[in-house]
Symmetry: C2
Subunit: 236 residues, 2 copies
DNA sequence: GTCAATACCTATCGCGTGATAGGTTTAGTC
DNA sequence: GACTAAACCTATCACGCGATAGGTATTGAC
């Protein structure tokens, strides 16, 4: 009787610290669940080396697994890339769709969309440098992501066109302007250092400030835009 | 006697159309010498697929050779990447060094450096999208290229700082401004279509115009800058 | 204790890769 | 015609890749 009770007192304690399943060869603690850890480490490696040059063995080792174990969580290497791409752009496109429909001047809407996107790129849990900017991701396999990205470009282009029509933005080739501005936006991915001195908010604000100074007929309007827009960190 | 003469009349004609060396299996004419054709086709494939995902068999087929023949012209696949990287940035850095030393206002010098670089990126004989923007090229193997690129960024940063000191450009975090402007510059690589409607000159001019509008204290100074700078196609 | 589910492991496969080795085909020189 | 250099070719290699197959080690439920 007494021996049985002593055994039961020991078991619940072990249950709280051990996940179900075979223990790993790599005993190091991981702060994320396995699928998220795989994505996190994959993104890091992709950003540093590119997708094709990153092997599944490297990803597995970085995530604390053996290479074939990756296929328990993702059906193919490709599926990892796809999951990373899908993890981006959703929030920023939703925000852009919402803001672009509001009853405000085009310049204000543009300002808010741009700074939100740049901040979002800097603060994603995953380092997306390689994925968004590299030709490796241009495959038709990721058509959904590229469609949504094209939609975001379209929204920005429409806002620039509306600003030109309203007279708040300077006359120019609206498509070329869209490309240049969006290039500066995504260009953030090539230099933003997640361990560096600049915060995502600061980058978002400064980028949008420069973009609007470039486009506004009268850059003195910028101060009013910044006031009306409010602090970036209040955007949902 | 006569038969011998007839034979000699035929040979000189063949000598003018046939290069020395074994004929290719792929008989199609190539407009460039073999090494240049390899670089051209490699750049095209790298831009579309990325470096690691492009095989030497693909490069060879595109250049009209068999795969091992590549190694007659380049010692390794890597050497192809290196040659492409070296083919860029030389002219633009020389120009930037020269212009940045001239006795003109910082804003004018900056304007000329920026538009030259953007045009240069658009008009390179090789499509460098994958090489300049992708992590694949970040290897220490290409240290020389990355040093020169850093020098270019430094020159632009110094010009921005000088403009801020002179009072022609707005006060702001000079390093962040440099990064954003250079991001727009290189971002051109992600969207410029060599078969498209925009010319390299137009892109160079428009990019520099937007960048200076963003940075100038008084954007009305832009017109004077454009006049003083003269047409981009006159830059050597 | 048995069984099922879960999360891993080791072993291995079929295939494709960059590169080497040796041979072939041409023009040019003597 | 013999020889050399140049520019190719075919054949092959050693290696590493993504993925499959089957087994192992744990928890939790009964």
């Amino acid at each position: 009787m007494k021996a049985t009770n002593a055994k039961k007192a020991t078991k619940p304690k072990a249950a709280k610290t051990r996940p179900v399943g075979r223990p790993r060869a790599d005993r190091r603690r991981r702060e994320r669940p396995p699928d998220e850890e795989i994505l996190f480490q994959a993104a890091r490696l992709f950003a540093r080396q590119g997708v094709a040059a990153t092997t599944t063995r490297q990803i597995a080792a970085a995530a604390g697994l053996r290479q074939p174990s990756l296929f328990h969580w993702f059906p193919t290497k490709d599926a990892i890339v796809e999951a990373l791409l899908e993890s981006t752009i959703g929030a920023t496109l939703d925000h852009a769709e919402r803001v672009s429909k509001e009853r405000h001047g085009a310049a204000l809407r543009l300002f808010r969309v741009l700074r939100f996107d740049a901040r979002h790129l800097c603060s994603s849990p995953y380092d997306l440098t390689a994925l968004v900017l590299s030709p490796e991701s241009r495959s038709s396999r990721y058509g959904r992501f590229w469609k949504r990205r094209a939609r975001l470009i379209e929204i920005i282009g429409d806002l620039i066109a509306a600003g030109i029509r309203e007279g708040s933005l300077v006359e120019m080739d609206r498509k070329l302007a869209t490309r240049l501005v969006f290039g500066m936006d995504e260009g953030v991915l090539t230099w933003f250092d997640r361990e560096g001195a600049w915060t995502p908010d600061l980058v978002g604000e400064t980028f949008a400030e420069l973009a609007l100074r470039a486009l506004l007929r009268d850059p003195k309007d910028l101060a009013a835009l910044q006031r009306e827009a409010g602090p970036l960190h209040d955007e949902p």
